[in-house]
C-alpha cells in the first residue's frame, strides 16, 4: 500500500499524555502522504477528514492513531474493498496505561506509530470473491430439532430439504401420546402436538422431505454444497447453502446395565420400552401380563456414571415425570417410587415435578441402587438412602431411565481408519504396513458409521470433542462446529429435552441462514464476521508438507493427489492458522501476513543501552487477550513500558519466523498471550492456542541449541475476564528477562 495518511487523535487524554507533535514529525519522517491531528477523530468532523483524504485520492491507506481497534469500529470502518485502515492504540496502550509525559511513554507511542505504519505499508486491498450462492438449507434429521430448524429456515424465506433416515418425521417424540408441559401452568401433562410441527414443515411450498433417506455425499463449501441423497425412490442431487445436523440421540444400551437387573428379569425394562407400553396396550408386567402394583423408576441408569456416560443426559428426569403422570392418570391405584441421585428439573419442569409429587401414589426418594434381584417380584436394594441405612424395596416392575447417546459420527476417527487401511496396503515397508494395520484395527468400530459423508480432507463428519458430541463452543457459540456452514442442533449437540431441542433447531437455522447471507456478501462468518480478505497461497513454492491441510481447524483445505492444498474459500474463517503453520511462509492475507508482522517487529526501536531499556514483544490474540488488555487500560492499570504489543488474529497464526526475527533483532523476550486450550478451550478458532503451545515448545528446544535461554519465550493462557492478571504477566516477564541479562544477539 502506498500513499499512507497518519491521523492522530488528541482526545480521551492522548493529548495530555503524549507529545503528539513529535509523533507527527515521526509520521513525516516515515514519509506519510499526509498527517492530521484532530482533537476528536471519531467525531463526524474527524471521520470526514479521513474520508475526504480517501475520496480525493490523497491516501490509499489510513493509519488511525487513536483508540484501540476494538473501540469505535463503526466510526472508523470505510469501504474495505477500497480503503486500507490500520489502528494504533494510543489511548489504551499509552495514555491510559502509562504515566503521562514520561519519556518511556513517548518512546512507546513513537514505536506504536512506526509499527502501525510498517504494517499498513504491507497491507493490500482485498480482491472480493464473486461466487454464486445457493440459499437452500439442508436439514439432516427430522426429529424435533430438525423440524424446528426446517420451519425456522422456511419461515425466513429459504428453501429447505429435510433428510430423515427413519420412515417418519418427529423422531422419538412422534411415538409419545403426551409430553412434559411446555406452557403455563406447567403442571399437567400436555397432549403431543408434534403433528402440528410436522404439518407446519411439510405444508410449506419450498420444503422437500425425504424419509428413509441417507446422505451419500456432501462436497463443496458453504453456499455451494453439492449434496447427493439416497432414497427408496433412487438417488437425488441438490445444492445447499448450509447444513443443520440434527440427528438426535438414541437410548444408552441397557444391556450394559446388568447391575440394575436388566436382562436378568424381564420385569426390568427401559424407559423407551415403558413408552411403547404406554402408547400401546398399556402398562403390564412382562412375566404375568398383569397391571403392576408398584413400579420403581431408577434414574441416571447409565448417566453420570464414569463407567458408562459421564454426563447428565438431561431428558430422563422429565421423561420419568411424564411417565409417572401418565401412569397415575390411567391407574391411580398404582404406586410409583422414583429413586434418584438428584432430580434435575431445570426451568419450568420444576412445576411439573412438584405437581407429580403431589399424586397420592407417587413417591420420590434419593438413594443409590446397589442391586435389583428377583424374577417375578423384584427386590430393589438401596444404599445411602435418606432413611439413613440400607433399604430394600419391593417392585413389580422396574423402569430404568436410560441415558442418551448422540447419533454422531467421529469424522476424525473415520478418517484415521481410512488412512490407516490405505497405508496398510500401500506403505513401503512391512513395518509401516503392520503399524497401519494396528491403527486400522483400533479404529475399526468407526467403519461405515458416516452420516454426512463430507468430501473433506479431514474426515467425512464433524469432529467430536467428548463423548461423541460434535465440537462446539458450548458457552459463547453453541451451534458452531468445526465445519463452516454446518451447524449442530438438538440432542446431537448436547444432552437436552424436546423443548430445548426446539429452541436449538431454531438457533442453528439462524446460524445457517446467517452463513448463507455472509457467503452471498463474500464475507467471513464468525468470529471475523464481515472480513472480505481471503488467504493467498503461493503454490509454486509449496512443498506439500500438509501442515496447513492438517492443522486448519475448519477443514478448509482439501488436498490433491500430491498433497498440494486446495482452498475452499467459503469454508475459511480467516484465523491465519495455516499462515502460522507454513514453513515456507507462502500463505498470506491482504491485511495480515508474515511479512507485515515481521515489518512491525523491525520497526520497533531496540535501544543498545540495555541496562536501561530492554525490549519485549507481546503477540496478543485479538479475541480475548486484547479486550482484556483494553479492559485493564480502561481501569487505568499500568504495565511495563518496555512491552510492544502486536495484536494478532489467533495465537495459532504465529509464524515461528517472527520469534526468530525478534531475537535476531536484539529483542530480549517475546510473550504470547492467547486463549485457554484443552477440552474446555476458549480459543475462537478451536485449536489455535493449542497449536501455538506445541509449536512454541519446539522453538524453545531450538533456542537452547542456539545457546539462547528458552525463558525468553513465554506462552500464556488468559481468559477474557482476567484483565487484572495482565500487568502481573507482563511485569513478571520483564523482570525475568532482566534477570536473564541482555539478548546476546543485541547489536549484531
Amino acid at each position: 500500500m502506498e500513499r499512507l495518511g497518519v491521523f492522530l487523535c488528541t482526545g480521551c487524554g492522548i493529548g495530555e499524555a503524549l507529545k503528539v507533535d513529535a509523533l507527527a514529525s515521526t509520521a513525516g519522517e516515515l514519509g506519510a502522504a499526509t498527517c492530521t491531528t484532530h482533537p476528536c477523530l471519531c467525531s463526524p468532523e474527524g471521520v470526514a477528514t479521513i474520508r475526504a483524504a480517501f475520496e480525493d485520492g490523497t491516501i490509499g491507506g489510513a493509519l488511525v492513531a487513536a483508540c484501540s481497534p476494538l473501540a469505535k469500529s463503526t466510526e472508523f470502518r470505510f469501504d474495505p474493498a477500497k480503503c486500507a485502515v490500520e489502528r494504533v492504540s494510543l489511548r489504551e496502550q499509552c495514555a491510559w496505561s502509562h504515566p503521562a509525559g514520561d519519556e518511556d511513554t513517548q518512546v512507546l507511542a513513537d514505536d506504536l506509530v512506526r509499527m502501525g505504519y510498517a504494517r499498513l505499508a504491507k497491507t493490500n486491498l482485498p480482491k472480493p470473491i464473486a461466487e454464486t450462492i445457493e440459499r437452500t438449507v439442508l436439514v439432516v434429521g427430522g426429529g424435533v430439532a430438525g423440524l424446528a430448524a426446517a420451519r425456522a429456515a422456511a419461515e425466513m424465506g429459504h428453501p429447505v430439504v429435510v433428510v430423515e433416515s427413519g420412515d417418519h418425521l418427529g423422531g422419538h417424540v412422534a411415538k409419545l401420546s403426551h409430553l412434559v408441559p411446555d406452557r403455563p401452568p406447567y403442571d399437567t401433562l400436555q397432549p403431543n402436538r408434534i403433528a402440528d410441527l410436522i404439518a407446519a414443515v411439510t405444508s410449506k411450498p419450498d420444503v422437500r422431505v425425504y424419509t428413509s433417506a441417507k446422505i451419500r455425499s456432501i462436497t463443496g463449501q458453504p453456499g455451494q454444497f453439492h449434496v447427493e441423497i439416497d432414497t427408496p425412490s433412487g438417488g437425488h442431487t441438490l445444492m445447499a447453502g448450509a447444513v443443520v445436523q440434527a440427528t438426535g440421540s438414541r437410548p444408552f444400551d441397557a444391556g450394559k446395565l446388568g447391575h440394575l437387573g436388566y436382562g436378568a428379569s424381564p420385569n426390568v425394562v427401559t424407559a423407551s420400552r415403558l413408552d411403547e407400553m404406554l402408547a400401546g396396550g398399556g402398562v403390564t408386567r412382562p412375566t404375568d401380563g398383569k397391571l403392576p402394583g408398584r413400579i420403581v423408576f431408577v434414574q441416571c441408569a447409565g448417566s453420570r456414571d464414569p463407567q458408562h456416560l459421564p454426563y447428565c443426559s438431561a431428558d430422563c428426569c422429565g421423561t420419568t415425570l411424564r411417565q409417572v403422570a401418565q401412569i397415575h392418570q390411567a391407574h391411580p391405584e398404582v404406586e410409583t417410587a422414583v429413586i434418584y441421585r438428584d432430580m434435575r428439573t431445570p426451568g419450568q419442569i420444576e412445576r411439573f415435578y412438584a405437581a407429580v409429587q403431589q399424586q397420592p401414589g407417587s413417591m420420590f426418594t434419593r438413594g443409590e441402587v446397589a442391586s435389583i434381584s428377583g424374577n417375578g417380584t423384584l427386590v430393589v436394594h438401596l444404599k445411602d438412602s435418606l432413611l439413613g441405612d440400607d433399604v430394600e424395596l419391593q417392585a413389580d416392575l422396574v423402569v430404568l431411565a436410560t441415558g442418551a447417546v448422540p447419533n454422531s459420527a467421529d469424522g476424525e476417527a473415520i478418517r484415521t481408519f481410512r488412512d490407516a487401511t490405505k497405508r496398510s496396503q500401500t506403505a513401503e515397508s512391512e513395518t509401516q504396513r503392520d503399524e497401519a494395520r494396528k491403527i486400522a484395527e483400533q479404529f475399526a468400530a468407526h467403519e461405515g458409521t458416516e452420516i454426512l459423508n463430507l468430501g473433506y480432507r479431514q474426515g467425512p463428519d464433524l469432529p467430536t470433542l467428548r463423548q461423541g458430541f460434535p465440537d462446539s463452543h458450548f458457552i459463547c457459540f453453541p451451534y458452531e462446529t468445526r465445519r463452516t456452514g454446518i451447524y449442530a442442533a438438538g440432542s446431537l449437540r448436547a444432552p437436552m429435552d424436546s423443548v430445548q431441542a426446539t429452541e436449538d433447531g431454531f438457533g442453528a437455522a439462524m446460524k445457517a441462514v446467517q452463513c448463507i447471507n455472509a457467503a452471498g456478501r463474500s464475507e467471513a462468518v464468525h468470529p471475523r464476521s464481515g472480513d472480505i480478505g481471503t488467504p493467498d497461497f503461493f503454490l509454486q513454492r509449496c512443498t506439500q508438507c500438509k501442515r496447513c491441510t492438517e492443522e486448519c481447524p475448519f477443514g478448509t483445505l482439501n488436498e490433491d493427489e500430491k498433497g498440494t492444498p486446495q482452498l475452499n474459500i467459503l469454508r475459511c474463517r480467516r484465523c491465519g492458522i495455516c499462515m502460522g503453520a507454513c514453513p515456507e511462509r507462502i500463505i498470506s492475507f491482504p491485511d495480515y501476513s508474515v511479512d507485515a508482522v515481521a515489518s512491525m517487529i523491525k520497526a520497533t526501536s531496540v535501544p543498545e543501552d540495555y541496562e536501561e531499556k530492554p525490549r519485549i514483544i507481546a503477540l496478543i490474540c485479538e479475541n480475548d487477550a486484547l479486550p482484556a488488555l483494553d479492559a485493564a487500560a480502561a481501569r487505568r492499570i499500568q504495565w511495563n513500558p518496555w512491552v510492544r504489543v502486536i495484536p494478532i488474529r489467533c495465537l495459532g497464526s504465529t509464524n515461528i519466523v517472527w520469534i526468530a526475527d525478534s531475537l535476531s533483532r536484539g529483542i530480549d523476550g517475546v510473550v504470547l498471550i492467547g486463549c485457554k486450550y484443552g477440552d474446555d478451550y476458549q480459543c475462537h478458532y478451536v485449536r489455535g492456542s493449542e497449536l501455538a503451545h506445541t509449536r512454541l515448545g519446539n522453538v524453545q528446544e531450538t533456542l537452547q541449541r542456539l545457546a539462547l535461554e528458552k525463558e525468553r519465550i513465554r506462552v500464556v493462557e488468559l481468559s477474557h475476564d482476567e484483565f487484572e492478571r495482565i500487568p502481573a504477566i507482563l511485569d513478571e516477564f520483564c523482570k525475568e528477562v532482566v534477570d536473564l541479562g541482555p539478548n546476546p544477539l543485541k547489536g549484531f
Binding site: 432430580m343 409429587q357 403431589q358 397420592p360 407417587s362 427386590v379 441405612d389 440400607d390 433399604v391 430394600e392
Partner: protein, 375 residues
C-alpha cells in the same frame, strides 16, 4: 450384620396423611430448610425434615416412635419458609393425628374420633342426648314450678347427677390416657437412654408448659402462642374454680348462687374471660394466613369447635342465670353438660391428647438429653 429392612412405601398410609392435612407432603425434596429454620429442633436430631421423609414413605410405625413429632408446636416457621410449599408443619400435624389414632385405647374410639370429618354429629349429639335422657328419666327435664327468682343451677339439675356421671367419665378417660400414654412411653423409649426420674423431670416440663417458653421461640405463630397460653390458663382457672366450689358447697356450706363479688366467683369469671379471649385469638388465627395457621383438617376443627362450644355455652349459662330466664338456662345447661362431656370423653382421641403426648415427649427429651436446642 443387621438385616436390611424391607420397606414398602404405603399408599394407604400416605392417603391417610393426605386426608389429615398433609396434602403437600410429596412436594418435599429434602432441602432441609425446615430443619434449619426450626427454633425447637435439637442440633443433634433435627426435624421436621426427617419426619416429612418418613411421612413420604408412609412409615407410620417409625413416626409413632419418634418423640420429635411432639416436640413440634406447629408454629409453622418451616411452612412459611419452605421453598417448595410442602408445608412441613401441616405434615407433622397430620402425623400427630395419625399417631393419636394409632395409640388410642380402645382402638375403635380412636378411629371414631379420627374420622371426625364424618363422625362429628355423633360425637356431639350422643352426650347431649345422654343428658336429655338422664334428666327426663329422673324427672328433671322440666323447670320446677314456682322456682324462686334467685334460682341456682342446682335447682334445675342436682349436683349428684353431675358427680355420678363425670366422676366415672373422668376415671375412664384417665384409664384410657394411662394405657395410651404407657404405649407411647414404651415406643419412644427406643430413641434414647433415659436418665433420672419421670416425676423429677415432670416438674420442670410443666413449668415450661405454664409459660409456653418453647412456643415463645417460634416466630411465625406469635399470636397463636398468646391464644393458646390464655386458653390454657383459662382452663386451669376453671378447673380450680370447680374444685373450690366443691369445697365451698360441702365444707364452707356457702349459699348458691354466689354473689358476683365473691372471690370464687371472681376467679371463675376471670377464667371465663381468659377462655373467651383465648378462643377469639385462636379462631382469628385460623381464619387468617393459611400458612401461618396450618391446614384446618376436620380433626383440628372438631377439637377447636368443641372448645369454642364449651366456652360459649358456659358463658351463656352464667349470663342467662343473671338474666333470670330459667327455661333458656335449663336448655343451655343441658347443652353445656353435653359438650363438656364430649370434650372429656374424646380427650384421649382428639387433638386434646397432645396435652398427654407432648408432656410425655418433653419429659422423655429431658431425660434423654436429645432436646438440646441449637445455639
Amino acid at each position: 450384620m443387621a438385616a436390611i429392612p424391607s420397606l414398602a412405601p404405603s399408599l394407604p398410609a400416605r392417603e391417610a396423611l393426605l386426608r389429615r392435612g398433609a396434602a403437600n407432603v410429596g412436594r418435599c425434596y429434602q432441602c432441609a430448610t425446615c430443619s434449619s429454620v426450626c427454633e425447637l429442633a435439637p442440633a443433634e436430631a433435627p426435624f421436621p425434615r426427617r419426619l416429612v421423609l418418613l411421612a413420604q414413605w408412609g412409615l407410620v410405625d417409625r413416626l409413632a416412635a419418634d418423640p420429635a413429632v411432639w416436640l413440634c408446636h406447629q408454629c409453622n416457621d418451616c411452612t412459611v419458609r419452605c421453598p417448595r410449599d410442602a408445608r412441613p408443619g401441616d405434615v407433622v400435624g397430620a402425623v400427630r393425628s395419625l399417631v393419636i389414632e394409632k395409640l388410642a385405647f380402645p382402638g375403635f374410639l380412636g378411629r371414631l374420633v379420627g374420622a371426625a370429618r364424618v363422625s362429628w354429629p355423633l360425637l356431639l349429639a350422643l352426650p347431649v342426648l345422654f343428658w336429655v335422657a338422664l334428666l327426663s328419666w329422673t324427672g328433671h327435664l322440666a323447670v320446677p314450678a314456682g322456682i324462686e327468682a334467685n334460682w341456682a343451677y342446682e335447682d334445675l339439675v342436682p349436683h349428684r347427677y353431675i358427680y355420678a356421671v363425670f366422676f366415672p367419665v373422668a376415671a375412664w378417660v384417665l384409664l384410657a390416657a394411662v394405657v395410651s400414654g404407657t404405649r407411647f412411653w414404651k415406643l419412644i423409649g427406643s430413641s434414647g437412654q433415659r436418665q433420672g426420674s419421670l416425676l423429677g423431670n415432670l416438674l420442670p416440663v410443666l413449668t415450661g408448659v405454664a409459660t409456653h417458653d418453647r412456643f415463645a421461640k417460634c416466630t411465625a405463630a406469635k399470636p397463636r402462642r398468646l391464644g393458646h397460653l390464655t386458653l390454657l390458663w383459662g382452663f386451669v382457672g376453671a378447673a380450680v374454680t370447680s374444685g373450690l366450689l366443691i369445697v365451698g358447697i360441702y365444707v364452707q356450706h356457702l349459699e348458691m348462687p354466689l354473689a358476683l363479688a365473691h372471690p370464687y366467683k371472681i376467679l371463675g369469671n376471670v377464667s371465663m374471660a381468659l377462655l373467651l379471649v383465648g378462643i377469639a385469638l385462636l379462631v382469628g388465627n385460623r381464619l387468617g394466613d393459611a400458612k401461618v395457621a396450618g391446614a384446618s383438617s376436620a380433626f383440628d376443627t372438631f377439637f377447636l369447635s368443641l372448645v369454642v362450644l364449651v366456652v360459649l355455652t358456659g358463658t351463656a349459662v352464667e349470663l342467662v342465670r343473671l338474666a333470670g330466664d330459667a327455661d333458656l338456662g335449663r336448655t343451655l345447661y343441658v347443652l353445656h353438660l353435653g359438650v363438656v362431656m364430649s370434650l372429656f370423653l374424646t380427650f384421649p382421641y382428639s387433638k386434646f391428647a397432645h396435652m398427654l403426648y407432648r408432656t410425655l415427649a418433653l419429659v422423655h427429651a429431658r431425660m434423654t438429653g436429645i432436646d438440646m436446642p441449637k445455639q
